[in-house]
Symmetry: C2
Subunit: 202 residues, 2 copies
């Protein structure tokens, strides 16, 4: 069923939860993240747009003590304690052979793989760009579900790739701790640019 268009803006409370009051968290309440919630999170995330619906993101949710122990030594030192304390950590990766699935994901255009495969650099650029977009959709979908996030680039990406994606072709991109953040542990929000400092209207 198609809803009326145009849509109204979401409520101020929703905009606060997604953007204005949402914060990166490093301290977590003692409240687990269920498999049901992780599946709901993936189910929202996957709807976000990618080039020719190429959907290159591959995600491992690290939850068990065994998997956490495999991840811990690959984290930057400053990211270890908060990641081990998080109820779950999403390893956001991308599949460099994403174009092999386009016959299913973009079935009306048989030439779609050729849009990406002119060079290794082009494949990598598109896997990285679109896989990163999907990682951002995951962050905002998590917030939409009431979760808090702690995204991180400080880790041994090659090591995480070897440890969690040993099959080859899939490479780790960034990590997102997931849980229910402790608001008492937050420091004031860091500055942002003014409109004119990062935007222009032409």
């Amino acid at each position: 069923m198609t809803k009326p268009s145009p849509h109204a803006p979401l409520s101020d409370a929703a905009l606060d939860q997604l953007f204005r009051e949402a914060r990166t968290h490093a301290a977590w309440l003692d409240k687990p993240v269920s498999e049901t919630t992780l599946r709901a999170l993936a189910d929202l995330t996957k709807n976000g747009p990618t080039s020719a619906n190429c959907c290159p993101a591959r995600i491992v949710f690290v939850v068990s003590p065994e998997a956490k122990a495999r991840l811990e030594p690959l984290l930057s030192k400053g990211n270890r304690a908060k990641t081990m304390a998080a109820p779950a950590t999403a390893i956001v990766a991308y599949d460099l052979r994403f174009y092999e699935k386009l016959d299913r994901l973009f079935p009306h255009e048989p030439s779609a793989p050729s849009w990406f495969t002119s060079s290794e650099a082009k494949i990598r650029e598109n896997a990285f760009r679109n896989g990163t977009l999907q990682g951002a959709y995951l962050i905002l979908a998590a917030r939409a579900l009431g979760l808090d996030c702690g995204p991180m680039s400080g880790f041994d990406a090659a090591g995480v790739t070897r440890e969690f994606f040993p099959q080859g072709d899939v490479e780790a991109n960034f990590l997102v701790n997931l849980g229910y953040g402790d608001p008492a542990a937050l420091k004031p929000r860091l500055p942002r640019f003014s409109f004119e400092e990062f935007c222009a209207i032409a």
Copy 2:
């Protein structure tokens, strides 16, 4: 003011608007996007998380007939008509000298620039990853404000960089048409992966 934590999930109507029923649009209702709305969009977008708050995205909103005429020849043929018809097009770019602003954006850690500047490749990777995350925040912030989006990678990125960012250091990443989409012009949603096809729980 800090709201109670944990948050509740957003309403189903909000999840539909952001993810489940949101679609990439190519046909637009005859309804402009005001400068007020573009400023509100930027104001939400800028809150999203980036590595060390590095905020590398730079955005030009193409609105005027003159700016559209500069963009048109740089688009892939299949992207021209829908982009010229869109009320606005965001050129999402990234600043390769983003680390020069960390003294303001991450003031408590004077060594933060050195986390990014060990090589040109590292600078570029971080500008691209974080600038792309911010582009995804823009897409979802637009939907949160009731706008519809049409993101595109099909254009001459080097040409758009030369035309819209002639100062150097800022490079075009992708484009997002913005407006109020015509739901009557939508085709059925393309397939997505099942949970097991792109996710795992470890």
